[in-house]
């Protein structure tokens, strides 16, 4: 058995930092485009759909990387509730990153909208045109987005807490990959 690593693999770190700005941008694009009446509405919509599918693809790759590679353990002096929250919120992230694009795609399908990626590139509908289903999925897309945003804020706060207050190597295990000596 190999020893437990002290940091995330370079591939896991690359995926994390590639997806983090995309996902945060996606949340702002989504909440902004449904409110605005300006021409930003069309611009943001045309980014939202292909970006969502890109995140879906990246999330699948990331899930595979997560289950096939070992991850560093949390510091042993962390209280149990914090460890539980850390693990729970990470799996919630995976679930939401996979669910959000699929709910969005299904929602457009159920609403009878063409799912245009770019130009004449369309995705096929994945559920039938059914407004009852649409109204459920449309609400789910909003509530899951708010849950994702709340999870992100908590994650950001916790990451900075590890990096600036606890200084226990958890933050650097996802950034430089170097874990400060004597921290375990």
């Amino acid at each position: 058995m190999t020893a437990q690593p002290t940091s995330f693999s370079p591939l896991a770190r690359l995926l994390h930092w590639l997806m983090a700005p995309l996902v945060v941008a996606m949340l702002f694009i989504g909440i902004g485009m449904v409110a605005t009446l300006s021409s930003w509405h069309q611009v943001l919509l045309s980014i939202h759909r292909p970006l969502g599918i890109a995140i879906l693809v990246l999330a699948v790759i990331r899930l595979i990387v997560r289950v096939t590679r070992r991850t560093p353990a949390l510091p042993s002096d962390m209280p149990a509730w914090q460890r539980g929250l850390a693990h729970g919120s990470h799996w919630l992230f995976y679930a939401l990153l996979l669910a959000m694009p699929l709910v969005g795609w299904s929602m457009l399908s159920a609403g009878g909208y063409p799912v245009q990626l770019a130009g004449s590139v369309y995705l096929p509908p994945i559920v039938p045109h059914d407004v009852h289903l649409y109204t459920f999925l449309r609400a789910a897309h909003t509530y899951l987005a708010l849950l994702l945003f709340a999870t992100f804020l908590m994650h950001l706060g916790a990451a900075l807490f590890h990096g600036l207050i606890r200084r226990d190597g958890v933050f650097s295990s996802m950034t430089t990959g170097a874990r400060a000596a004597g921290q375990d």
Partner: protein, 362 residues
């Protein structure tokens, strides 16, 4: 060496000795709250005076009440089905499949403006036609047209101010004429629309009216060149102005349409009008000169109608920005505003529809 982390109690008891930790905690708080606040700002909840799609639709509801399950504007209407027979003439300026020679199925809707689905047909001179073309390659072209060649305003803000000015006075049930007059005085761009309505009495029928795409669009040809266009449908049935007696019947437009369709299909020519350089594309209140090239792209054939309560058009949001490859939106700011506001209307009415059918099932 790292000092052990002070406990919460220790931080509160002797804050002066832990200024560095408190400062870093505060920095984390600023980052998290700042990003959360930015998100709230973008959503519009922090700025009640900003005109959002939700507030536009709220204003329709404030003016005319909520009629669950119905569109927030152009609520009264009827579905129809038919097809578009393209003659291929528009292929020169647009590569859209719908313009190649052949037939494309169409699900459409005739309607009149207003939030009330039971309003009298004589209440307005405006009639509208919405179309959804479904091409074989899965692409769609949706358009929502009015029987006036120019629109009343050229911005979402103008449209909102018109809504506010035409809110019925609770005492009379009618808009306050002084407020309307003030609105028109402040919006001189409304003049071409008002002149047109004054000089063109409404038609007797949905079937003998021409309908105009309201906004300018861009047609993209095979080589990728774009051409600014507006489109309209011109009826084969001759125009006849409506009489007072006709208009006095509450649902005269619908019953007249039923009679006509029982005698055979109705036809319109689909016309693409091509702009010349310099023609404005970002202002729906300005007509283009009459001498612009007009391409007769083919014939729209309406074969049958059905009540909107369970018709095929009910579950379609006629968002004018749903376009096939070969047609693009122009720089007209109304297009994005229409798309955004129609989506809110669609979301609300489909939600109500689902709730109502849930109740019926119990």
């Amino acid at each position: 060496m790292k000092r052990p982390l002070p406990s919460m109690m220790e931080l509160l008891r002797r804050p002066g000795q832990h200024l560095d930790v408190l400062g870093r905690l505060a920095a984390i708080g600023v980052v998290v709250v700042g990003i959360g606040g930015g998100f709230a700002y973008v959503s519009g909840v922090l700025t009640p005076h900003r005109l959002t799609a939700q507030r536009m639709i709220n204003t329709f509801e404030a003016n005319g009440g909520v009629h669950p399950g119905y569109r927030r504007n152009h609520a009264k209407g009827v579905c129809f089905a038919g097809y578009f027979e393209s003659n291929g003439s528009a292929s020169d300026i647009s590569r859209a499949q719908v313009f190649r020679p052949g037939r494309t199925p169409v699900i459409g809707r005739f309607a009149i403006p207003g939030t009330n689905p039971a309003i009298a047909d004589g209440s307005t001179p405006v009639r509208s036609m919405a179309l959804e073309f479904r091409s074989g390659n899965g692409e769609q072209w949706r358009t929502a047209m009015n029987n006036t060649p120019v629109f009343v305003v050229n911005s979402a803000r103008g449209f909102y101010e018109q809504l506010e000015a035409s809110r019925p006075d609770p005492a009379t049930g009618k808009p306050d004429p002084a407020k309307l007059a003030a609105f028109f005085a402040a919006h001189p761009e409304t003049q071409p629309f008002r002149n047109w309505v004054k000089s063109h009495p409404p038609s007797t029928s949905f079937a003998n009216a021409a309908y105009y795409g309201i906004n300018a669009f861009r047609a993209v040809d095979m080589s990728g060149q774009t051409h600014d266009v507006r489109w309209s449908v011109v009826p084969q049935a001759p125009y006849t102005p409506v009489t007072k007696q006709d208009a006095a019947r509450h649902d005269f437009l619908d019953s007249e349409l039923e009679d006509r369709l029982s005698q055979g299909p109705l036809r319109w020519h689909l016309i693409l009008t091509v702009a010349k350089p310099g023609d404005v594309t970002n202002d729906a209140t300005v007509a283009w000169p009459d001498d612009r090239a007009r391409i007769d792209a083919g014939t729209l054939v309406v074969q049958r109608e059905s009540a909107q309560a369970d018709g095929d058009c009910r579950d379609i949001n006629y968002d004018p920005t749903v376009l096939p490859d070969g047609l693009k939106i122009s720089d007209d700011p109304l297009l994005a505003a229409r798309s955004s506001a129609y989506a809110v209307s669609f979301n609300r009415r489909t939600h109500e529809e689902a709730e109502a059918s849930g109740t019926n099932a119990q």
